[in-house]
Symmetry: C2
Subunit: 488 residues, 2 copies
């Protein structure tokens, strides 16, 4: 049996989790690495999507003045203990190297779960004067967090990400930076991934371990669950103090720097899949699809083959010449139905059917992956037709996801109401909701919401539902509603 | 004190190792991470060079049909033991994770030193039929080998690399693949890095642990030492048998696959530095330089500043419009001499001096990094002049390195002669040699050469010095001369 074997996908309505796993596997995106706990292998289609995401992000990081660097994978265990909240947050999830080169290490190394500590150590070496600020760095790396419950892309013990690390002379500049990078994330999510997000502030209970304030982008999956898709942190002077990162100000005084850190990971791909894919498999927004169009030549008799495959190759060449990555599926031994099924499951935005009769008419049948509609077009119009189609598909996918987010966002005025909405409209039934409610940023309020197996996702920074109102738990007045939802 | 502080570089003739370290540090390429044994931080200039190398390599991997994927960082310890030579080669250098998530692991994980074993495990899952072959994959990743003596870029406990892994239906196709990728490496070394290499076959004693045959590219550093810059291995059926990777042939029989693996790493950057840099610091071939030209505006009086900086910005814009990455160094508080020194140390191929008198004459003084020659050119000719200059610089750097390789390659007919050449022309004196001698591929011969603190680098695949001759140790006839040299 060939790896090209096909398998049907569990419908979303029957079992959303099984559907997700099927889409990931059949879409050639990833596969669980059962022999390494909680890890996955990222397969060709998945890695190609990641490369496109990297390139979109990296371009924007560079345009905002950041330089890429690379810090060691290993961090001395003692480094983590220097920032009290940080070690408390990460200690339970660490993978620890205790033996190296055949000997027990005097001080164990942890495999980085994130790099604020080792970055702090080097920032202290590199920063002396106000002239060295702001220091704007980013690294593309793998990190390890020993999670109990894992799911491909969404939560794996090892994952790929980027982590930005910056140091600034004052709190205002650090805040501007954290918000600037949050906006970069939101832009890539919406304009590239066609995944609408809410830009928000995390509660104190939900913020990054060691941060002063965490910003996030939250997306809504097709089942109504929330996914934290990216975070950007104001670290304040916490790591500056822990690692003694000081600079001489213009006035000659010694000051601790103000830092930020921000990251997105391969988790984005999980969000991408759960935002757009359908019961036939993967659906990719054109901007992230490694191959935009596949042409399937159709013929019954051997003597039709040459002319049809020849024409298919010419169509592919025309498309590639217009920067529309196209391929011909001329594999022997698979029927056209199988081929369409294959490319549909892999999320290719456009498939083109080209048979002897089409060829005689100088046309081909173009099918758009998301809507499933077919239409015949003259062969020489294909580059223009498909270019326009890919643009519509990109913007319509965002609109559909936006409409879904809007439709499944409701308000609540009491804790009972929140509880009722979250328990009736369960995610399993495909009806999870974002509940907008006034709630105080206080650990006891977060804990109360956790009782419904939900969490306070964030207080939106923009697009507020309305102004001040009374906290549904304490009754105190808070300035805006928060998003409460079940989440991945 | 700012990080922009300058430090002179130890001359090569005085201490080559100290010179190398100074060039790496002052060139903003990397810095030792003393708190993590044998690791380094790759700094902005070094990482930007790595990104360019990655892009040149990755483009060629894709053009030859390879798909990028990502395998887990951790490998079950038992996997390594399945291939006897492989575990023997790598066991002494492993970093081992024994604790994760607060618990002792039942089976420890090693941090990958290379991925043949875990790849073998997955290839067995993915390959069933001849239709699945060839399977052509590559991954960009970090690996860890616990080395005792480390040196930035050349040998670090953690390093960045790519590793290609492929499976084929027969030995011939596997051999073609291994040689094809060796040629990709040689092309990038010569045409992009301007670093001439010898394409060769390793001896049995020097081959990759677990390979049937290893090919390599060997480069000569300025001190005459050899550097293994890339390797490509025919793995035969060794890992196929260890991991039970079988396919059904067209004839219906079950066969083990034939595999290859091949890799280059951040070590290339060490080779790049030791091939081209000089006593003033880094010299980068234009194709790898992140910034091709820096314009330094020169003015004494405040009223000259606006016009000079304005003109410098226009020159930069003209260059960037022609895809020549250019920057203006308009930093305050640093004199022009300091700025030239700064950019020279960082290997910027071209610096442009622009003062009020140049501006009045409609000209600027252009300095080429490698030769140090200065020449005045009309402002409006700069894009063409500099474009041509970068091209000459790229090809002349290769020619100079080729001449050096030729000049320092000698022949020897006896073991005594080899010993004498290697002991008098020591690398410390900047006169290491490649000694071409007939020597049998036999571990006892390798061992004999090791007595001179040298090694048999390879038997060249092309550009043989001559035909068959008698082994300088056993007297047996061997088909070609090998390269014997001291090496990093």
């Amino acid at each position: 049996m060939s790896t090209a074997q096909s398998k049907n996908i569990t419908p979303r309505a029957r079992d959303f989790a099984a559907w997700y796993q099927d889409v990931v596997l059949q879409g050639d995106m990833a596969e669980p690495a059962e022999v390494v706990k909680g890890c996955m292998v990222i397969k060709p289609n998945g890695y190609a999507v990641w490369e496109r995401l990297q390139s979109e992000l990296d371009r924007r990081f560079k345009a905002t003045g950041h330089k890429n660097v690379y810090f060691p994978l290993f961090i001395p265990e003692s480094f983590l203990r220097r920032e009290a909240e940080h070690v408390e947050g990460f200690a339970p999830e660490l993978a620890v190297v205790t033996i190296a080169g055949g000997k027990k290490l005097e001080e164990p190394y942890v495999v980085r779960p994130t790099s604020e500590t080792i970055v702090g150590h080097f920032f202290a070496r590199w920063i002396q004067s106000w002239r060295d600020l702001p220091l704007l760095m980013n690294q593309w790396a793998n990190v390890v967090r020993w999670e109990l419950r894992t799911r491909m892309f969404l939560r794996t013990t090892e994952f790929l990400w980027q982590e930005g690390h910056t140091a600034h002379a004052n709190e205002e500049e650090a805040r501007e930076e954290a918000l600037r990078m949050l906006e970069v994330y939101a832009e890539v999510a919406e304009q590239v991934m066609a995944m609408p997000v809410i830009r928000g502030v995390k509660t104190g209970a939900e913020k990054f371990a060691g941060a002063q304030r965490s910003y996030c982008i939250e997306a809504m999956m097709q089942n109504g669950l929330a996914l934290q898709a990216g975070t950007s942190h104001e670290l304040g002077q916490n790591f500056g103090k822990a690692f003694d990162v000081k600079y001489q100000s213009k006035e000659g005084t010694l000051e601790y720097v103000w830092q930020t850190s921000w990251g997105v990971s391969t988790r984005l791909i999980g969000g991408l899949i759960m935002t757009h894919s359908d019961d036939k498999g993967l659906v990719l927004p054109p901007k992230l699809a490694p191959t935009k169009a596949v042409i399937v030549p159709i013929y019954r008799k051997e003597d039709e083959k040459d002319s049809v495959v020849g024409a298919a190759n010419r169509v592919a060449a025309d498309l590639n010449a217009k920067d529309i990555a196209a391929e011909v599926d001329a594999r022997e031994g698979y029927n056209p139905g199988h081929k369409f099924f294959h490319w549909e499951q892999r999320g290719v935005p456009v498939t083109i059917e080209l048979g002897p009769r089409d060829l005689a008419a100088g046309a081909a049948v173009v099918k758009r992956r998301d809507l499933g509609v077919k239409q015949s077009h003259p062969l020489d119009s294909l580059p223009e037709v498909i270019s326009a189609l890919l643009e519509s598909m990109q913007s319509e996918m965002l609109e559909i996801a936006r409409a879904r987010l809007k439709e499944n966002t409701v308000t609540a005025s009491t804790l009972n109401e929140v509880s009722e909405i979250l328990s009736t409209a369960t995610a399993e039934k495909g009806g999870g909701k974002f509940v907008m409610a006034h709630i105080k940023d206080d650990p006891t309020c977060d804990a109360k919401v956790k009782e419904f197996r939900a969490s306070v996702r964030c207080v939106p920074l923009t697009d507020h539902y309305d102004g001040p109102g009374k906290c549904i738990i304490t009754g105190e007045t808070v300035p805006h509603r928060s998003v409460i939802a079940k989440a991945y």
